[in-house]
């Protein structure tokens, strides 16, 4: 386009700045609401704690196996991974289904719903608000040129291929704020308190993880480990050390 579009200063005063301010305020509000709704008493389950400890101990055994005598190592390996009542052995069919576990524990489902609600409701509301009042016009201009690829990112809601890409539509400005304000939130609310949407998504996808799978994996790697006692080598090393000391 040869001539530039001239943007009204009223757009800046009534769209650009209010939109950003509202986004920040909503972010802060959401943080406090989610803090209020978070269930306070989170006592971890005894069985889960125990499984975690078993895994740590088995891992220790695997990594430091060469430091104990062969007999002790074999005894421990049997203790961990025998087929009858080994600590790492999970009987077939008894492995709890995480889905079923989730439904059996109403608290867990409730927690997840709360988290979801505090995230989704404000987002849909603000999106509807932006869509209703500020849809379909250009709100800002970036001071440098960009390639066509950025059109879908910066000009959401404007279906004109002739407008220069450096113009930003109001709906796109909303999206930019939504994803770009994380740094600001971590400044305002403190490092770990940032309402980090992507992190929450990650947590949710990792939610259905199965501790029994971990036990099985640990058992397999314990089964294949070769025990090579390191201590006989230490005698020679000790001799060397002493020889140096005496000299």
């Amino acid at each position: 386009m040869a001539e530039d579009l001239v943007l009204d200063t009223a757009i800046r005063d009534w769209v650009l700045i209010p939109l950003s301010v509202v986004m920040v305020l909503i972010g802060i509000l959401r943080y406090f609401v989610s803090k209020l709704m978070r269930s306070t008493s989170q006592v971890p389950d005894l069985k889960i704690v125990k499984e975690g400890q078993v895994i740590i101990r088995a891992r220790n055994l695997r990594s430091a196996a060469n430091f104990i005598p062969p007999k002790s190592f074999r005894a421990r390996r049997v203790y961990f991974s025998n087929e009858e009542n080994g600590l790492l052995h999970v009987p077939k069919g008894q492995a709890p289904n995480p889905q079923a576990q989730m439904f059996s524990d109403p608290n867990m489902a409730m927690d997840m719903m709360k988290k979801n609600l505090s995230m989704i409701i404000p987002q849909t509301l603000t999106f509807a608000w932006v869509n209703f009042f500020f849809s379909g016009f250009v709100a800002a201009k970036i001071p440098f040129p960009l390639t066509q690829r950025f059109r879908s990112m910066l000009q959401n809601g404007i279906d004109l291929s002739t407008v220069d890409v450096s113009y930003v539509s109001s709906r796109s400005w909303y999206f930019l704020n939504l994803f770009g304000l994380r740094g600001l939130f971590s400044l305002i609310l403190g490092e770990e308190n940032a309402t980090d949407d992507t992190q929450r998504m990650m947590q949710m996808s990792g939610f259905g993880f199965d501790p029994t799978k971990n036990l099985g994996a640990e058992k397999d790697s314990l089964d294949i480990i070769q025990h090579d006692w390191a201590l006989p080598k230490f005698e020679q090393r000790a001799e060397k050390v002493l020889r140096n000391l005496i000299r």
Binding site: K50, L231, N244
Partner: protein, 301 residues
């Protein structure tokens, strides 16, 4: 574990605070972070902050953790009145808190009213059955009362759940050694070594127990662990050097008829003897004759 840089930092801060250079709050924070035990210092400097209302209010919400830290330090120093006052303040601020209830139970324990403390701990455990600290306190009560078998039972129950806690394994090993149950102690020390395979002190303790158990195989293993202690400490550990000498002579005595001597082991033995002699010559020349006499008697037997 406290690393070396953290240790030097701690010592530097301690020096600075002791000489009135300020930085008491940072020092207390570091103590809490590293979990080192300096009750007198915590009590002294913590109280000086808490008694100064201006300094105290500048801490913000950290004020309450400082109260907790000081109260525990006060109980450690047997200043029970100070601890009581601190806990009272906390109780006023957080009337429902389990953490404060725990402190009160610890105060009961410090006073020596075992049954009441035990009752308090039991009721706290009902609310939260996996509170490690309370489990440990109960074990400590049993031990303080002289109920060693009870302590062993509780400790075993604790380790059934928290089996990756190597400090608890070490405590159990200590108790077993004190009761001369060496086979059980050997198992516990193996567990400790597995958790931290490069700490020479554990190798040394393990070797000691194996040597005490006796028997050719155990003695040979003990000797290997004394050797690893020497390697890990750079030959600075006198006990390990003596251990080598004792093991060698005991092994020689046991395998006298079998004629299965290893040449290398005798070399390690002679090296250990020379190292010991050199060490004594440098640090305690007056005791050298004693040492040579002792070593000679070992060789003859």
């Amino acid at each position: 574990m406290v690393t070396k840089t953290e240790d030097t930092q701690l010592n530097r801060l301690e020096n600075q605070v002791d000489n009135g250079g300020g930085g008491a709050w940072e020092y207390l924070c570091l103590i809490k972070k590293l979990k080192v035990r300096r009750p007198e210092k915590v009590l002294k400097y913590g109280l000086s902050i808490l008694n100064d209302s201006k300094k105290r209010s500048s801490l913000g919400s950290e004020e309450w953790t400082l109260y907790e830290q000081v109260s525990i330090a006060a109980m450690d120093c047997q200043c029970l009145n100070v601890a009581k006052d601190c806990i009272k303040v906390l109780q006023k601020k957080f009337p429902e808190s389990k953490r404060v209830a725990r402190l009160e139970a610890i105060l009961l324990e410090a006073k020596g009213s075992w049954t009441e403390a035990e009752k308090a701990y039991t009721s706290l455990l009902e609310d939260n059955p996996i509170d490690q600290l309370i489990h440990k306190r109960r074990i400590a009560i049993a031990k303080a009362q002289g109920d060693i078998s009870g302590a062993i039972e509780l400790l075993n129950k604790y380790l059934e759940i928290f089996m990756a806690d190597h400090d608890a394994w070490r405590e159990l090993a200590d108790i077993y050694v004190s009761l001369q149950m060496y086979k059980q102690a050997v198992f516990c020390y193996e567990e400790v070594i597995l958790a931290q395979p490069t700490v020479p002190l554990y190798h040394l303790a393990y070797a000691d127990v194996l040597y005490t158990l006796g028997g050719l195989e155990n003695l040979q293993t003990a000797k290997k662990y004394y050797a690893s202690t020497i390697d890990l400490t750079g030959g600075k550990n006198t006990r390990a050097l003596f251990g080598i000498c004792l093991c060698t002579s005991a092994i020689a005595q046991l395998s006298k008829g079998r004629n299965k001597d290893e040449k290398e082991s005798s070399e390690l033995h002679s090296l250990a003897v020379t190292a010991l002699e050199k060490d004594y010559k440098n640090t305690a020349p007056g005791k050298l004759p004693l040492l040579t006499a002792a070593l000679k008697s070992l060789k003859i037997s």
